[in-house]
């Protein structure tokens, strides 16, 4: 490599990254500082966490969840990790190693739950048994077990690594369908309510590219390989569409999502309140649900009775989503 042209906006040292949405370049130190500032801003603006909270971070072994765990520890929060073994072949085996190594190297506590060992099924089998696309079966399992493990462990807040690209893509999908109920629920903080822990997303002001860069600069080894189930799903198509708009008009993604939170979300608050009132306890696990048995218990019942389905048979099914 020869001389680098661009310089850090803050200190004029050689830059390591260009951030078109800030119309600036940064050196490693000032890039990290920018990320920290964005996380602190999100935490404060949305009243996400306090230093007394017992925080549980849902960790997948990928860049976002390891980055958010790293940042929270660095900022002085008490945060343990939760790794959920989804049983997606080699992908899950490898991702577990990254999560464990990260925790072990830093002396952090990682709780592990395995769908196969603890609940008798895995994501490919659940997908086949319930005729759902893999990401849907996976999402039901993750949401339920993140909630129940957080409550079981006495944690006051559950943190997920959803970033700006994730949230903008979900918003894009909900908007294309004008799905008002989902739009109303799309907040970076969901307060604790009967049977659900408080849930927060401290990375909503940071992009995926920035989170990957955080990991590289901080020397965090994460799983770069993609979940094989993601291939062809709509979420990826929405992200690609938004990134094309971002390329032509840097800052669009952040404006789309963050201005939704400021200008549109307040108009939708009445809608969520109505939906939560009608919840009752799941007859099997006690979690809040609209029917007799919650979506997770129904899925687990069907999937655990089904013979195991190898990953290869379900790959690419996301296309139909």
């Amino acid at each position: 490599m020869v001389a680098v042209g661009s310089k850090c906006r803050t200190c004029k040292a050689p830059a390591i990254i260009d951030l078109p949405r800030h119309n600036a370049h940064f050196c490693a130190e000032h890039f990290l500082e920018l990320c920290r500032r964005q996380v602190v801003k999100a935490i404060e603006k949305f009243d996400m966490l306090s230093k007394d909270d017992r925080v549980l971070v849902a960790v997948s072994g990928g860049k976002d969840s390891l980055a958010v765990w790293d940042m929270l520890i660095e900022l002085g929060y008490q945060a343990d990790g939760l790794y959920l073994g989804l049983g997606i072949g080699d992908y899950s085996d490898t991702s577990a190693v990254y999560a464990r190594n990260f925790a072990a190297e830093r002396g952090l506590h990682l709780i592990e739950v395995s769908l196969r060992a603890d609940y008798g099924y895995d994501v490919p089998t659940a997908s086949r048994a319930t005729k759902r696309v893999p990401c849907s079966a996976c999402g039901i399992s993750k949401r339920h077990l993140f909630d129940s493990e957080a409550l079981k462990g006495g944690y006051t807040v559950l943190v997920t690594g959803h970033n700006l690209d994730d949230e903008a893509a979900v918003l894009f999908g909900n908007t294309l369908r004008w799905d008002v109920e989902y739009l109303a629920r799309q907040a970076p903080v969901l307060p604790a309510r009967n049977g659900f822990p408080k849930k927060v997303k401290p990375l909503v002001r940071l992009t995926e590219r920035e989170m990957a860069a955080w990991c590289i600069v901080r020397g965090i080894d994460y799983l770069v390989e993609e979940c094989p189930m993601a291939v062809g799903n709509k979420h990826l198509a929405y992200k690609a569409a938004l990134n094309e708009i971002e390329r032509q008009s840097p800052g669009s993604k952040a404006a789309f999502y963050l201005n939704f939170l400021d200008n549109m979300a307040p108009l939708l608050t009445g809608i969520t309140a109505a939906a939560t009132d009608s919840l009752q306890e799941c007859t099997s696990c006690g979690a809040p649900t609209t029917g007799d048995m919650c979506a997770f218990c129904r899925l687990a019942e069907k999937a655990s009775a089904h013979e195991p389905v190898p990953v290869e048979l379900v790959i690419g099914k996301g296309r139909k989503r």
Binding site: M1, G5, D18, H235, L236
Partner: protein, 65 residues
């Protein structure tokens, strides 16, 4: 230069000096969804890459909800 690509993992050899942005454009890879690591260090779009460099182009977009 040696260029390592991921998902799926593969390697290319590309001759001649060029900028990071030019390399991404040549390979038809969007800048917003990739980072470039040259000899172990993250480099910005206008950094120049030369024949002796070992370059990794890392995709940063994850699927799933």
């Amino acid at each position: 230069m040696k260029v390592l690509l991921r998902n799926p993992k593969r390697e290319l050899v590309i001759d001649g000096k060029r900028s990071v942005n030019a390399l991404l454009t040549q390979l038809d890879l969007p800048r917003e969804s990739h980072l470039v690591i040259c000899n172990g260090t993250l480099v910005p779009g206008d950094a120049d890459l030369t024949d002796d460099d070992v370059v990794e182009i890392r995709p940063v977009i994850s699927g799933g909800a």
